[in-house]
Subunit: 358 residues, 2 copies
């Protein structure tokens, strides 16, 4: 028996959809969330896909998610909107926000939609990439769902790893897609190191005396370092703060001390905030000329001289594009521990396991 089993995208989507339906989501909503979660796994955002399903299920059972939310627009202007997610799953809220921003940007050239009373929505790149099919640029900002970052020089973790994503359409090349936390390492990477019994590199975390912390089992005693690390971490701190203001405070969502650690709390309303901006390339010039310029730039970067020992120069998003193609062909790997968790969940919900024994 292989140590790591794989599953096809369609099967993974169907499994998540069935689980969410049994948990009480309307069929259409269950499919929307399932498709986005499976897409996260397909593109290699393993920390944001089906691995979250047991936690989501726990939260739904505890009443921490509203499975029948009345998602509505509470502020509306030609280029902006504020969407109240009614504590529904974040995927539903931000898919709606992205679609709304795309429609608005057709007329105004740019649109910006914030959410309030949303929830964890998976990888930022999913939503930033939605405008690509419309020849538009997407920018996405989110308040993370747990505070692991203090202000620069501080000890109190008042900020999250607030991510930013940007997706820019290309022509013959694939789109440029950046998706990054504003800390040196995302907290999920720390948890992965702990699970594997590995040591973290210096520069990911520090302890309360500012000394490097490299034992991931002691993560609770330390803090993530903001992007820039010891030399320039005040920049990462600044970015995390601005992103939190744009994605959280602007839309009346939680920020700073109001952020709820949804890994340790299954039932409080998180009032998660996110923001998506959509820029219509056609408002600034000929779309084909723009795409050709992006193609040329990608080629220049890719074909430029490399440092000794470097095999290849990547453009942001390339690894995800390749993972997506490989996993579409070969299936999505599911780690043994995750598979056990999903089998247990399937048994609880009375649905078929993700992979059925023959």
């Amino acid at each position: 028996m292989p140590s790591e089993q794989t599953v096809q995208l369609d099967r993974l989507t169907a499994f998540i959809r069935e689980a969410l339906t049994v948990l009480g989501l309307p069929p259409a909503d269950a499919f929307t969330v399932a498709a986005l979660m499976a897409e996260a796994d397909l593109q290699g955002s393993d920390g944001h896909g089906v691995t979250r399903l047991p936690q989501y299920a726990r939260r739904i059972k505890a009443g921490g998610f509203n499975v029948r939310p009345d998602i509505k627009v509470v502020r509306d202007h030609p280029g902006t909107a504020l969407i109240d997610g009614d504590n529904g799953m974040g995927h539903l809220v931000m898919k709606r926000a992205a679609e709304m921003a795309i429609e608005k940007a057709r007329n105004t050239g740019i649109a910006w939609v914030n959410s309030q009373f949303s929830n964890h929505a998976g990888p930022a790149s999913l939503y930033a990439s939605m405008p690509l099919a419309h020849d538009m640029i997407g920018l996405y900002f989110a308040v993370g769902n747990a505070n692991h970052l203090p202000p620069w020089g501080g000890l109190d973790m008042l900020l999250s790893t607030n991510p930013v994503a940007a997706a820019v359409p290309a022509g013959k090349e694939r789109a440029i897609v950046l998706d990054m936390a504003t800390t040196v390492a995302a907290y999920g990477k720390v948890k992965t190191k702990a699970l594997r019994g590995e040591t973290m590199p210096e520069g990911w975390m520090i302890d309360r005396n500012g000394q490097p912390l490299t034992d991931p089992k002691r993560a609770d005693e330390g803090m993530l370092l903001p992007l820039g690390g010891m030399e320039a971490g005040y920049k990462g701190y600044g970015l995390a703060l601005i992103i939190g203001l744009l994605a959280g405070t602007l839309g009346g969502a939680a920020m700073g001390r109001d952020v709820i650690d949804f890994n340790r709390d299954d039932d409080s309303v998180t009032n998660t905030g996110q923001a998506i901006a959509v820029i219509n390339v056609a408002a600034f010039g000929d779309v084909d000329v723009f795409k050709s310029s992006v193609d040329r730039l990608i080629g220049d970067l890719r074909n430029s001289s490399r440092m000794p020992g470097v095999d290849r120069i990547y453009v942001p998003g390339e690894r995800s594009h390749e993972t997506r193609e490989r996993r579409r062909r070969d299936g999505i790997p599911i780690a043994p521990a995750l598979m056990r968790g999903l089998d247990k969940l399937a048994a609880e919900l009375g649905i078929a396991c993700l992979i059925q024994e023959i």
Copy 2:
């Protein structure tokens, strides 16, 4: 005689205005540029203020700036515009862009204006801060005027230190203003270290073998490290790339290999691109509620626990606010070498020196 002389804001503005007028700018334009350059010095952005005047003068004399530009809107949508700066000074172009974006955001909630055929415009924070007086948030992105950054793993410097600035209004507190290059250190900091005969910290630059470069006199042999440094520099590379796409490529301005090093070239049209986004806070909710939330967040950050040895926790922009107040009161210091350069320029232009001997 003091080693460093100081000058009052009004006198500095008048000196720059007179110099630019003699160099051929219309009086109103000379005043606009002078006020913004002096404001840069006032807030402590010393690398972007009057220190640039000798270089600007050289470029004007060489025909590298158009002193009588026909700055015009070449694309216009309800929420966006593209401004052709006609190779005028960047300050003129981006002040116009900011004003236009503020007007548009009144109606649409958000606006985004790009420039093409613009030039170096001084510190990003100047323009990001213009919407503050209208209870709006400003975001500013620029393609830097010289490439000092290779793609991650590469040797060819195809990218600049592309800065981002963000300004968020507060209530009783002063606005949060972030202004940062997407490299660990801006190139100006390297030049300052060289002038002072000091060594750079490890982490600012690397040589062509990826080894730390700490001698600023050898800067030409090395490359800046992107924000994130050796651990996570691919993130800073990604940010620099996305900012360049938004500020340059989107508006048909120079990006990548087309960027001209304006420190070594006085007469080529740089086709510099910048972008400003303005978000109308009122489109998302009550402005006073928003400002109170920002105030509370600032207070939480400032009053949070500090690491051993840390005297104070700063919010982005606080140091600039304090410098502005101090220099408004005590005057703006002008380093001896800069003063000699300005005296020489004054003699060439036949105008009074910045500080006249009694």
